[in-house]
Amino acid sequence: MADFKKVEPDLSFIRGVMDSGGETVNRCYQCATCSVVCPLSNPDRPFPRKEMLWAQWGLASKVSGDVDVWLCHQCGDCTAYCPRGARPGDVLAGIRNNAIKYYASPKGLADIMSRPTGVVAIIIFFILVVLGEIFLLGHPFIPKGEVDYEKVLTVLPIDAVFMPLAIFVVIVALKGVFEFWHDISAGAKLPQSYTGTYPRPKLGDLICDYGWKSIIEILKHDRFKKCGQTAERAKGHLWLLWSFIILFFVTNYVFIGADIFGMHVPLSMFHPVKILANIGAVMLIAGVLMVKAMRDQKTKEGVLSSATPDWILIYLILAVGVTGLGAEILRLLNIAVIAYPVYYLHLGCVAALFLAVPYTKFGHLVYRTTAYIFQRWSDEIRAGRNGFAKKMTLDH
């Protein structure tokens, strides 16, 4: 007797995919041209043919627990060759957006963050939090004299907001990653233990063997560059990635320096870290503009289409970059009336960008990296080089 899986299509999932970039999902009639032309597809488990059907059938858990959707960089080769205009590349983007929602908790936040008005509300919320702090500290909102943001808020009260936010984000993201890891283990049909668990890599292996190699690959954008129709998109994305790394570094430098060692901020314009920070800010704006320009161009060429989640992320990053650099320039120009409001706006945008990690398309940062690592790991398992079997031989 065959092992029958009870199927109950989730109509809201299908509508979700259709609303977030995959409105053509139902056009697919399973010819598998997409899987043949895809430069990244895995010959053993080709995609995106199967994902198209699963999405049509509203098999939410099956689609979300499918690692392959994250190995796609939406190059659009499949979309260009699809004989039926089903646009698999765009559908996979929609599936990814929904998968992020699927693993996010609480789901309500993901719903809010999936709408432009929701994101604006979040930004306003954080601005109000910051203004509330200033009010409680008894500082004026726009102090007189030379512009100095320390006059309204020192590093400490800012961190009082951002630290818990960061911790919350990390917890939500980690929860999502763990669930994701379990689901993709099941989806990849990895061998299960008798208690129903899947093999997990040791932390050391995870970092040294799989994580490190994956991160190097990501930093070089090797796979993104293989993309046929839209390989040019890799450049802007690479700039953006590196700018985030730079900004992550300088933010932490300032955070640790100021909070723990009482370093004076803002740093001098000639401080090496400040120079690096400014380079990072310029790269961020340039990178996101390049991404936007390429997206526009590729949309015009018809190989890619963009949905709300794409634009939310692009404009949010752009807002963070422009307000950040703007706040700095306005401070140097000493135009207090505009400088302080821009600074508050910047803080609101940054907070929203933090929250974007587990709840919006920004989550691809987490899930795609996880998928890369998982792919290396599961290949080893499948090849019998790791997992339960290896553990057993070690025990004996």
Binding site: A2, D3, K6, N26, Q30, L53
Partner: protein, 773 residues
């Protein structure tokens, strides 16, 4: 009877390089007594045609022989009214098929053989034109222009409108009390035009309105055909109220089983007659004339289809018998009545599984009588559920084949766009009551990658459309061969004579099929089909008026002639005619109906008395052609065989083989025949008695996948060959000397080998022992 004739030899295309033209001219103008013999290196050009034309006028020629390319090409030139024209295939059959001496062939001998071949073909042509006569077309006194349409559904309505539009009066008869047929029972229908993406309201109402507004169309509802007697151009149709009996109901002949007693012994003529009378008690004789019959020229059969309803106990694995397992037609009724409700308890249906193929994992065939239509209907009906339950309705289509041909691909695409319609290929292995009012469907080998089970409220089986001609005569012909179409079991009951070659022709000339009787088709396809059948019916009337045959011999103004004084009433012709063209009288003397005839010559081949023939194709003409062939008495290297090649398939295959430079033996001579069915045993006797060593018959495939233009010809010929074998045996000759081979038109690569193998076999048998007698 010698005619004044001219021979014109084409010398281009390499003909003069292989054949000694001078010798040929010498033969023709000398021994053969041809009055004018000329050559031309560009005979088919206007100058060549002009040359022949001038000769006809100045020399008062009665017949012209054009020796050059195959008669199948350049056939439009040399068409002179009142002149018999015969074409000799020198290029393909003599020159191109013998480009160079084969390996080990002596060059001199090769030349000699090829020359003899060419000379024989000229001799045969001369013999033929000497005997042939010009056709004298049969033109009935009146050809009634009215068209009868049987069936008032979409097909019938369309056929009537199409015929009325070009001026014909039409009568539609419909068995039901109202017009519309099945199309009037639909909630919505599959689109009939761009953009094809969504369901449309049934269009049949418009058609009915148009028909009712058309003063050339008469509608008779609740009416059936009792009998159709007569011939194309003058059918006498007796009508009756649907479901009643009538004295004019067409009599039904005895079946083969009824013709024997319980021991399998054939009944005597009297017993047969008695049995026949009993069987047809209360019915008038088929030849009797109903004075009240209506006259029509041609008939379109559009009686449609009936839904296939599985028998009790059929498809147990699909839970057939459970009230919630229904056919697509039953589902259509539910949908037409309003929101779809579950038959078992009246609950609104939220989920439906449409099962397209019943065979589980063993067999991926769809239901009987299903086709692309059932795929399209499943898509349409899936949409019904979504119309009723737009929020949470779920329609599953489980198929082995999703057939959406042509523009219907857009329909498929449009339906698929609905997020509540789920499609997968898969094998439905079981349907079970799930205990909570619904059903669970188990599907294996899905393209989802898993074996799945689905809970649904309703299961719909994509059962097919059974043609009405499967179980009923429908046309009720008062013909000698009986009231129904013949051998429809070959096509599963579909009313068809050859779907690919002759889509509308039935085996009864003047009666054309369209729509659901023809194959299962959509409304759009049925309308197109109806237009085709209406045109065919009109063409048939024109053919009757002008006195030529219908497809496939539309150029033929001749018709078979019977020399009744010598008829022995053996009934072979009346029984063997594939088209039921011959009726008979009380004694069994055949009564020809030329407008029913398709001029295949099967009657001529069947006749043991050799009394049936055509003006330019008869026992004597072909016999004379055979006798015209020079058969050397004492040369073992020059055995001679005759090949009768069907001119529809085998002959073109030979032409093609030659044009591709393929060679075959130079010993046989080829005579084209209209159909192997027209080959009379007399010709084989003629060949053998004139010293020929073998006889090969190349005809179309017969049997279930027959390719015969005249349906039964090659099969009948094959049956006659058994008698020939007996005759040869009695003469002390090997029966292997006569052989029938089936050749398809695309068998050009095979046909030279078939000939060579036969020649080898004959050489092995040695010369005809009666040679030289």
């Amino acid at each position: 009877m010698s005619k004044k004739k001219g021979l014109y030899i084409y010398t281009g295309d390499g003909i003069s390089e292989v054949i000694d033209i001078d010798k040929l001219v010498e033969l023709a103008s000398g021994d053969l007594g041809v009055d004018v013999v000329k050559t031309h290196d560009d005979l088919y050009s206007p100058s060549g045609v002009e040359m022949v034309k001038k000769d006809i006028e100045s020399e008062e020629l009665q017949a012209v022989i054009i020796a050059g390319v195959s008669p199948r090409i350049e056939y439009k030139q040399f068409d002179f009214p009142g002149i018999i024209v015969e074409r000799v295939n020198l290029r393909e059959f003599v020159v191109w098929s013998n480009p160079t001496p084969g390996e080990g062939d002596d060059a001199e001998k090769f030349k000699e053989h090829v020359q003899e071949l060419a000379e024989d073909y000229i001799r045969m042509a001369v013999a033929k034109v000497d005997k042939a006569q010009l056709p004298d077309p049969y033109k009935p006194e009146t050809v009634n222009q009215r068209i009868l349409v049987i069936g008032g559904g979409v097909t019938g309505l369309t056929a009537a409108l199409e015929a009325a539009e070009v001026g014909h009066e039409v009568t539609i008869i419909e068995r039901e009390p109202q017009l519309g047929g099945f199309a009037a029972k639909l909630r919505k229908q599959i689109p009939v035009g761009p953009d094809y993406s969504s369901l449309i309201d049934p269009i049949v109402g418009d058609l009915i309105a148009k028909v009712q507004a058309n003063d050339k169309i008469t509608v008779k509802t609740s009416t059936e055909v009792a009998r159709i007697a007569g011939v194309p151009g003058e059918y006498r149709v007796s009508l009756k109220e649907a479901g009643t009996k009538s004295e004019w109901d067409a009599p039904v002949p005895l079946t083969d089983e009824e013709k024997v007693d319980e021991n399998g012994k054939e009944l005597s003529a009297e017993e047969l007659h008695k049995k026949y009378e009993e069987k047809n008690e209360g019915r008038r004789h088929y030849m009797e004339v109903d004075p009240n019959a209506e006259i029509y020229g041609a008939v379109v059969v559009a009686s449609g289809w009936k839904p296939y309803i599985p028998k009790e106990g059929e498809y147990p694995h699909l839970a057939w018998g459970n009230p919630n397992v229904i056919t697509n037609v039953q589902y259509e009724e539910l949908a037409k009545a309003g929101k779809i409700k579950r038959p078992s308890d009246g609950k609104e249906v939220k989920s439906v599984a449409f099962i397209q193929s019943p065979g589980g994992k063993e067999d991926d065939a769809d239901f009987p009588y299903a086709s692309a239509v059932t795929s399209l209907v499943a898509l349409k009906q899936a949409k019904y559920l979504r119309e009723d339950q737009p929020e949470d309705g779920k329609a599953y289509v489980i198929y082995q084949h999703m057939r959406t041909p042509g523009q219907y691909e857009y329909f498929y695409k449009g339906i698929q766009d609905d997020p509540g319609i789920f499609l997968t290929k898969g094998a439905v292995t079981e349907v079970k009551d799930n205990g909570s009012g619904g059903l669970t469907v188990y599907v294996e080998n899905t393209i989802l990658g898993d074996d799945i089970s689905i809970d649904v409220d309703l299961v719909v089986l994509a059962t097919g459309m059974v043609p009405t001609t499967k179980d009923e005569a429908v046309i009720n012909l008062a013909y000698r061969q009986g009231p129904s179409f013949k051998d429809l079991d070959l096509f599963g009951g579909y009313c068809d004579s050859n779907f690919i070659c002759f889509p509308y022709e039935t085996r009864r000339t003047g009666i054309y099929a369209a729509g659901g009787v023809h194959r299962s088709m959509t409304i759009e396809e049925a309308m197109e089909d109806a237009a085709g059948a209406a045109l065919k019916a009109i063409q048939c009337l024109v053919a009757a008026e002008e006195g030529h045959a219908v497809h496939p011999r539309t150029w033929d103004f001749d018709y078979p002639d019977f020399y009744f004084q010598r008829c022995t009433q053996c009934k072979r012709c009346t029984e063997e005619c594939p088209f039921g063209a011959l009726d008979d009288d009380e004694k069994g003397t055949p009564k020809p109906n030329p407008t029913r005839c398709r001029r295949c010559g099967t009657c001529m081949g069947a006749c043991p008395e050799r009394i049936i023939g055509f003006k330019d194709y008869n026992i004597d003409i072909v016999g004379s052609m055979i006798k015209a062939i020079e058969v050397p008495d004492d040369d073992d290297e020059k055995l001679r065989m005759i090949i009768f090649a069907c001119e529809n398939d085998a002959y073109p295959a030979l032409d093609m083989a030659a044009s591709k430079g393929l060679s075959w033996s130079r010993l046989p001579r080829i005579i084209p025949v209209r159909c192997l069915g027209s080959v009379n045993v007399a010709w084989i006797k003629d060949a053998m008695s004139s010293g020929m060593d073998g006889c090969l018959l190349l005809g179309c495939k017969f049997g279930d996948d027959y390719q015969c233009h005249f349906i039964k010809g090659s099969e009948l010929c094959n049956r006659r060959m058994e008698n020939v074998a007996e005759t040869l045996n009695s003469l002390g000759m090997e029966p292997e000397r006569v052989k029938l081979e089936q050749v398809a038109i695309d068998d050009y690569d095979r046909v030279p080998q078939i000939i060579n193998d036969f020649v080898e076999e004959i050489i092995g048998l040695g010369p005809n022992p009666f040679k030289g007698w």
